[in-house]
């Protein structure tokens, strides 16, 4: 790897940031500003804001994020393997197969437990589970 390969990237970073920053600032300076109290309220379809904006959201979004981290790590390793595929031979294929199967198992487990199901109420999830397992979870 040569660091000079990244010179264009750095130049583009500076150019794009300068473009975005300068245009934002210049536009801010020359555009007119007539703030009114109503205009500065958070948008709520035109009516007076009733409640403070919620700062909490469903935990399933976190679940997706955590699952993504697992898969992203997997992908990084797969890319590393794929770029030296020829040198590693069958040994590399075997190692990657074992590793990927572990990820597949994770996916299967998460799938079975319903973490990938959206719009399912908690109660429906327990109802669908076999009685023994549900009782175990209730106790836990």
């Amino acid at each position: 790897m040569e660091l000079s390969d990244y010179l264009p990237i750095a130049v583009m970073f500076i150019l794009a940031s300068a473009f975005a920053g300068v245009s934002l600032v210049v536009s801010y300076l020359i555009s007119y500003k007539r703030p009114t109290p109503e205009k500065l309220e958070p948008y709520e379809c035109g009516i007076v804001t009733e409640a403070e904006p919620i700062q909490r959201f469903p935990v399933k979004f976190y679940l997706v994020a955590i699952l993504f981290v697992i898969f992203d790590v997997e992908i990084v390793f797969l890319f590393a393997w794929a770029s030296v595929f020829g040198e590693l031979g069958w040994g590399g294929v075997a190692a990657v197969t074992v590793f990927t199967l572990m990820i597949v198992e994770t996916l299967g487990y998460v799938w079975k437990r319903g973490a990938l199901d959206w719009n399912v109420s908690r109660r429906a999830r327990y109802r669908a589970a076999p009685p023994a397992e549900a009782a175990q979870e209730m106790a836990a």
Binding site: M1, S4, D5, L7, P8, I9, V11, M12, F13, L15, A16, S17, F19, A20, G21, S23, L24, S27, I30, S31, Y32, K33, R34, P35, K39, L40, P42, Y43, E44, C45, P53, I54, F57, F61, V64, A65, L67, F68, F71, D72, I75, V76, L78, F79, A82, S83, F85, G86, G89, W90, V93, T97, T100, I103, V104, L107, W111, L116, W118, N119
Partner: protein
């Protein structure tokens, strides 16, 4: 590396920047015109011939519009988000080659000028990294607005983008396996010959899509989802959450998000062409045509191919209704990721048998 090389690099970057700005301007117009035709309307037709300057007019208008800063925002992050959307969009296109390298003589030395921002040896990983960075813009915009709809749009967009990024990453691994390189120029070079089938040269270009069709399908679906385009535009589902994460943005701040969306759409089309349809490779008829024409033809092929993809993007938007959120997650996690894993096992095994022979022999 002397100062002329540095100047060439700067010139190249400015050229890419100008290209992206020009393409973005035309693309917005193109989309509005094509959607208008599909819906039996005329579309923009006032600014310039056939309304071609409409985007420029809109840009100028947005430039002079008030930038409302609502009371509840987290100011620092709120202002950083539009820039975080625009900058990775520009950076991401840097690794896509859009024409054949040519040589010019400057300062008494022959210099090779690749028509590509930067030819990184980790090109594909760089693409994935930049598309990850773009997610931050959406998260921060949604969270820092201090309003309900942007927050909902922001978390939705994040979950969507990261789900489909996993699928996209998995669909790109076979490309690296097949061509043996993450360097994008080498991926193009590997596709520039013609196919040989059972010892016969059948004259069809050796595009990756012939062998890696499943990868291509998964990549295309994830690319549409990554750019938050219809039918995956739940992020800005107007009927449910107003404008989504950019509800509280106005004036030029909104324009930067808009710019980023269209540049990303172009980059994704360019990547689909580069990785699966041979990129700029195509007949240049060297020696038959004048040298200048031959040098320019690959760029023409590239843009023709990209235009086909851009048309498909617009076509999808005009045709398909939006998915429901649970359908979106089901498609991502229960269909695309498992199928790309199965395909990866299959192609990995097949390539290993071809390269190393059977394991027991």
């Amino acid at each position: 590396m002397d100062w002329i090389d540095v100047l060439l690099v700067v010139a190249r970057v400015v050229a890419v920047f100008a290209l992206l700005m020009g393409v973005c301007t035309l693309l917005v117009w193109f989309e509005r015109k094509v959607v208008a035709d599909m819906q039996n309307r005329v579309g923009p037709d006032r600014a310039g011939p056939w309304g071609i300057l409409q985007t420029v007019a809109d840009g100028v208008k947005l430039f002079f519009k008030e930038q409302v800063t609502p009371r509840k925002v987290e100011l620092g992050l709120y202002l950083a988000a539009p820039m975080l959307a625009a900058v990775p969009a520009f950076l991401m296109f840097m690794v896509v080659p859009f024409g054949r390298p040519f040589t010019i003589t400057l300062g008494g030395e022959e210099r090779l000028v690749p028509l590509q921002g930067a030819d990184l040896n980790v090109g594909l990983l760089y693409v994935l990294a930049m598309s990850s960075v773009a997610v931050y813009a959406v998260v921060l915009a949604g969270w820092s607005s201090g309003s309900k709809y942007p927050l909902l749009g922001g978390v939705r967009a994040t979950a969507q983008a990261i789900s489909y990024e996993a699928a996209m990453g998995l669909s790109l691994v076979p490309v690296v396996l097949f061509t043996g390189s993450m360097r994008i120029s080498e991926i193009v070079a590997a596709q520039s010959s013609t196919l040989t089938f059972l010892g016969w040269n059948i004259g069809f270009p050796a595009w990756n899509v012939v062998v890696l069709a499943p990868s291509f399908l998964i990549f295309t679906i994830s690319a549409v989802a990554e750019t938050n385009r219809a039918p995956f535009d739940l992020v800005e589902a107007e009927q449910e959450i107003v404008g989504g994460f950019h509800t509280e943005y106005s004036g030029l701040r909104f324009a930067l998000f808009f710019l980023a969306e269209y540049i990303n759409m172009f980059t994704m089309s360019a990547l689909a062409v580069t990785l699966f349809f041979g990129g700029w490779s195509g007949p240049a008829w060297d020696g038959v045509l004048p040298a200048a024409v031959s040098a320019l033809l690959p760029t023409v092929w590239f843009f023709v191919k990209v235009l086909v993809f851009l048309f498909i993007f617009v076509w999808l938007r005009a045709t398909l209704p939006r998915l429901r959120y649970d359908q979106l997650m089901t498609l991502g996690w229960k269909r695309l990721i498992p199928s790309s894993l199965v395909w990866l096992f299959f192609i990995g095994g097949a390539l290993a048998v071809r390269r190393f022979g059977l394991p027991w022999s």
